[in-house]
Symmetry: C2
Subunit: 187 residues, 2 copies
DNA sequence: AAACAACTTGAACGCTCATTCAAAACATGA
DNA sequence: TCATGTTTTGAATGAGCGTTCAAGTTGTTT
């Protein structure tokens, strides 16, 4: 080994922000050079090409999301209470003005002509769903846990899209309570 | 008037297919020339530019969707039964191999940096939601109808995303039944 | 049949895109 | 200190992008 490379985590973080906000196709390499501070050669040596950088950025985001979710479930509260908290925070996110959905959801929809990338994203989303299934399986029969987890995922995806054109936090919460009545909503 | 223009509906139909499948940014004008059979000049005279064509294509799709929905509700069945049928057909759609979500949903997520276009799409989606609200308001108090309609929209959006990585029709239906228990699901 | 207006044609334009690569800078081992 | 291998630099490249426009075609009016 000789000279150590640039801070890979930092670069991935910056690239992820841009890809997430602007989308894969609308993000130019020149914009990525600017935001990361890297020159073309460095990026191409380290990641191969635009798609390589994108895939690694997806992985970076997905791993962080999964870690965060796992950590949440390590809290000393009931599984269902934790899920309520999570949904609450998703609603909070969704009404932010610079909200740009979930990076995985957005990319999934944008890149359905690239089967390989699509497949990766689907696996990350499935991994997230699996966490919900496992947690719910501690209090429900497996089959019921699976259906409930899927219902949660559908609601999360729905929020990710609905959040784009609604600022009304209260009615979003009401709809969640209607669609997920088996969760322990406050009051 | 002199020479009549090309068949506008036909061109919009073809352009919509391409934009829908490939996405706005990944669709090139040259590809649009090919698929529509038009030459650059014709397109630019009729639609102004790429964005103009795109906006008109969104309108074309939205109007067709809204008409279709209104027609559905003219059927001689209960509102809730009709909604069940619709959700059923959305699940059917979602498991098709060439499924590419809803054009409006997809575009909404891809183009959040273009506030004007985003606003248009949000209005179309709001118009669709309004139809559900009005129909549900014939059997529920207005406020309840609004929450229920929003819950339906969240489920539809959720399906539109979830459908990308699941082929399992039965579990999707089970999740819908769990999330929308107030609908008259068959047996 | 001539003049006019509306539409179509398609080559051409400037620009930005993703990508390349030879040269320079740098860290390490001998 | 020098040789070696790795990383960075940044100008350059060709391909493809969205768009333009002068010339050609076609239908209508007189």
């Amino acid at each position: 080994m000789s000279k150590t490379q640039f801070d890979r985590q930092d670069v991935l973080h910056k690239a992820t922000s841009l890809f997430w906000r602007v989308g894969y196709n609308a993000t130019s390499m020149q914009a990525l050079f600017k935001v990361t501070g890297l020159k073309p050669g460095s990026v191409y040596l380290a990641f191969g090409n635009k798609e390589g950088l994108f895939k690694e950025s997806l992985k970076f985001y997905a791993s962080a999301s999964i870690d965060k979710l796992n950590k949440k479930f390590k809290q000393n509260q009931s599984v269902e209470k934790i899920i309520c908290d999570l949904l609450f925070s998703f609603v909070e996110e969704a009404v932010q003005s610079e909200y740009c959905s979930c990076y995985l959801v957005k990319s999934q929809l944008e890149l359905d002509d690239q089967p390989q990338t699509k497949h990766y994203i689907a696996e990350y989303l499935a991994a997230i769903e699996k966490i919900y299934v496992e947690q719910l399986a501690t209090i429900y029969p497996v089959e019921e846990a699976q259906i409930k987890a899927m219902s949660i995922m559908i609601h999360i995806f729905g929020l990710r899209v609905y959040g784009y054109h609604t600022q009304n936090k209260q009615s979003m919460l009401s709809s969640l309570q209607l669609g997920l009545p088996w969760l322990p909503w406050p009051s």
